[in-house]
Subunit: 566 residues, 2 copies
């Protein structure tokens, strides 16, 4: 089914290209794949496309769809293909890059495209599509390469699916975290630091609560927190392999004519602390946690609020252990991951194990042991999982966690990644009970993944209505007249001294205005105090959804709050 | 007296230069000032000086001192001076830079140096000196300029003062925080990031306790915490003035062919959040706090553990208020500063106000108002202070706090700095009660200053014996035999559940070994459990200094701990 949807969307990309060529014959085609969300096609047009060109292109696509042109696919000799695409340097480059003597050509009517295949039967099946936007891209994603224009869209089998998609998009737009971030005064983004979030006081509170929640669990599980520098020398990143594999995503600076990278990952720092003193088997498992701020380059076109930023904090941990300890450690990590994700309202979690790829390092026995450890850990926690055969990183197998939010979207957050590579590269050692030296296994794991991104997911998941335990302001006291001010202040102090995040509306607005203001701020509990409450020494609790509870004593309120806090 | 000591030390610098010229006649002299700790002279030698050359130089200095040469000072025409120093490009450059037609020349015997004056009578008074070290420096401190060699030393009036100094230095060396940091496993420094500290688990605990202590006070005082990015665009730093005045101490990077600086200060970030929405007089004072990690270039020669690092966290706050609110705000800041410094055992605090310099911006009335606010705030808190006339920054007056540590050394930590400049440059505004627009005053303030540096001061001040409330491990349970293990584990869990940082020695060492290990770690309280304690359900509390308290019940212990925690 997923394969079918891919074929449909890939065919829709061909349909798009076909329409563009009919409307703008001098446009050069490059590539047009299906994506998890839809499809796109990258063009080199003679004049840049604009959003307002999309309706005409969509109209032409529908017209070609109505022709019900059969989609065919055949292999042709490379020379023939070169002749077909002469004058298009991109297609010629693609042809050169394909192995063998022939290449695949997809055709519909007089439109032909270089293609590996996988299509629907005819263009008539492609009516349920929607063009989404025009953006900038680069040939082969290389930002020093030829700039191109990308038209993105999506397609479904039925009109109903398309309508559901549009509804979901509209809802996501309404609860876009960037919009909520502004409305609720949580964070902002500024031209002076594109992709670098600024946390406002309320956003910083939520951020700190996310950190604080995890810190408690880390402490219980005997993790030890460290902090490593933002900048480290090029030589270190060369040794860790990041310089070779990740350089394009790193920022660099120079000190005393020596090159330094701003850290894109926290692992080398943790390794230097591991190596700072001799380690014995008695020290293992050694569990370092770091809330590490990393900086990674992203194209400006793909920056997206806190979802995709250029700086974010990973709730990182690096666990050094013996191969025999691996299973128990993974088990504990899986259990902590579930505890955290459930806490924040994510019940539907999809788990997968990625196994040894072809270009892997390390011997099979070690891989098997590690992969078995991952499997057994998941099994013993009663967690169902999928196997992604051959999809692991070259340095070790991993577990990935995907959560489904309230709008049905999936997000990859946590990972547990076994690593044979870095311990070897950095010659990590521990002394065994026999007095010999052995290499520890290293496990990288994150639960939130990026704290900033998780914050944004939470905001959209809860549609801005953060639950009591993580709301920046949990309770707001609203007096009906100034007569209740003293009562209000006493209540405020009591709530604060119990550790609650409480505030008070000091304005002279009428109670309706105060309620409205608190509701716009998405405060979970409004505590309304009028003449009656003052007289009886009670509190009226008004929930965000309008439900009210009258005549609560302070004790009642504190008991309720204690439950809501958990 | 301080002036006299300066004259003595400046004269000692001349004596040093005189000795060097007699020993190495081709050495070029540059400058040789007195410093708060002693003096130095920067040379361009024909062959680099080494530490082992210092005894011979000192010997020659003593020999010249014995000659009791009178020190004279006179003004000579610049042409005469140019002739005297021909061939020495440094002196010629200095002569060109001096205003007027004449320059001062200091002479002793046949030695002459360019000099503004201020000396002792004759070289015989300069016997109580000590040469300290040889280091690299640059002409005019410009790291792109001519590299020079600096010989540093110190001098006193009497042999007794010199002996006391030597004793203090020996003690400081014994309790050097870099040594303690290693011994107590608190932090480390690595060649992969020179000047960028790595915090080990125990160091991170202390660091977090410092942050946590201040956070509590900030919350009580209605500060709001923010977090701003590490990298911001060059244009912003140009507008803030940092690019012009501070560029040489900043690190830069490039993103999409645009220049960014790694922040050396947190103010511009706070200003962008201030400007994010319209502000009214009702919002003021608006008190933003930020534990902001800053990066600043330091010459590798002056890096000194956590005292002088290239990255550190400022416990920064930026308060935006009306001119009328200034006094009350300053008062609160002074009071919080005292509360924090006293808490950490600093009772002797020297306070000074630096006033309007000649090149100041802003009109006199505003300066007077701000300076008065500073004075009155100190007076109303009953704090004695000195006036440093004309020593303020060009953008506003400031208060500086200097603490004296247990070894008698002074450290400048906190500052409260009024700023008229940034609000103007960034066109900050608030709406007044009358509906007009006005410019807020901005106050920068820090209490610890640099958290890393304060940590190091604490370590040396307490000679590694951090007090109970800030010790990374507060209590360590030591069992005499394995029979007490279960009792020990129960006690450990109880202590942890009360929020104490407790641990247990799980080794099979004899009790004497366990005590020794805990003492090396500087754990304030050892809880010794033997057969008797198990039988009577009691605890023996052994303090770090060896004092013991027997037969404590759990309740006794918890009560004691609660007091020690405060």
């Amino acid at each position: 089914m997923e394969q079918d949807l891919n074929s449909l969307r890939h065919s829709a990309a061909h349909l798009l290209a076909h329409a563009v060529v009919e409307l703008y014959p001098d446009t050069k085609l490059t590539i047009g794949p299906a994506t998890p969300e839809g499809f796109f096609y990258d063009f080199l047009p003679t004049t840049n496309f604009k959003e307002q060109d999309l309706p005409a292109i969509a109209e032409k696509m529908r017209e070609i769809a109505d022709r019900k042109l059969p989609l065919t696919h055949k292999q042709v000799p490379k020379d023939v293909a070169r002749e077909m695409f002469k004058g298009n340097q991109f297609k010629l480059e693609l042809i050169d890059g394909i192995e063998g003597d022939t290449v695949g050509i997809a055709s519909q009517g007089d439109f032909h495209d270089l293609c590996r295949g996988g299509h629907v039967e005819h263009t008539g099946l492609l009516k349920n599509f929607k063009l989404l936007n025009v953006s900038g891209s680069y040939w082969r994603g290389d930002r020093d390469g030829q700039p191109l224009q990308r038209i993105s869209g999506t397609a479904f089998f039925t009109p109903k699916e398309l309508r559901m998609y549009e509804k979901r998009v509209a809802e996501a737009l309404k609860y876009d975290h960037r919009k909520l971030g502004k409305e609720l005064d949580l964070f902002s983004l500024h031209e002076e630091g594109p992709g670098f979030p600024f946390f406002h006081p309320r956003g910083k509170i939520v951020y700190d609560l996310l950190v604080g929640h995890l810190k408690k669990l880390l402490q219980q599980a005997d993790y030890q927190e460290i902090a490593t520098p933002m900048m480290l020398s090029d030589e270190l990143w060369k040794r860790s392999g990041h310089y070779d594999h990740y350089r394009d995503n790193m920022y660099f600076s120079e000190i005393d004519k020596r090159n330094f990278a701003i850290k894109p990952m926290n692992c080398p720092g943790a390794i230097l602390i591991y190596k700072e003193r001799p380690r014995s088997y008695r020290d293992l498992p050694l569990k370092f946690a770091e809330f590490g701020l990393v900086h990674r380059y992203e194209l400006s076109g793909v920056l997206h609020g806190l979802f995709r930023a250029r700086a974010f904090t990973i709730d990182d941990a690096h666990v050094f252990c013996t191969p025999d300890q691996l299973k128990e450690q993974i088990k504990q990590m899986v259990s902590m991951t579930y505890s955290v994700l459930n806490k924040f309202g994510f019940e539907e979690i999809r788990v997968g194990i990625s196994t040894k790829p072809e270009d892997a390092m390390g011997d099979d026995a070690l891989w098997d042991k590690a992969t078995d450890a991952l499997k057994h850990a998941l099994e013993s926690e009663g967690v169902p999982f999928e196997m992604y055969e051959g999809e692991g990183a070259f340095y070790g197998p991993k577990i990935e966690f995907r959560i489904k939010d309230s709008m049905g979207r999936e997000w990859q957050c946590g990972t547990i990644q076994v690593d044979f590579f870095l311990p070897k590269n950095f010659e990590l050692e521990y002394v065994t009970p026999e007095g010999t030296r052995a290499q520890p296994v290293m496990v990288h794991r994150a639960i939130y993944g990026s704290l900033e991104r998780f914050f944004a997911i939470l905001l959209e998941h809860y549609k801005g209505r953060l639950p009591f335990f993580i709301a920046p302001v949990q309770m707001k006291i609203l007096t009906i007249t100034d007569d209740q001010k003293q009562y209000a202040h006493e209540l405020l102090n009591t709530l604060k001294s119990h550790g609650y995040r409480a505030s008070m509306d000091e304005s002279s607005d009428p109670i309706s205005g105060k309620i409205k203001a608190a509701q716009l701020q998405q405060v979970p509990w409004m505590l309304v105090l009028g003449a009656k409450e003052l007289e009886n020494n009670t509190i009226t609790l008004r929930h965000r959804d309008g439900k009210q509870e009258f005549g609560l004593s302070l004790d009642d309120l504190l008991k309720k709050a204690e439950i809501a806090q958990k």
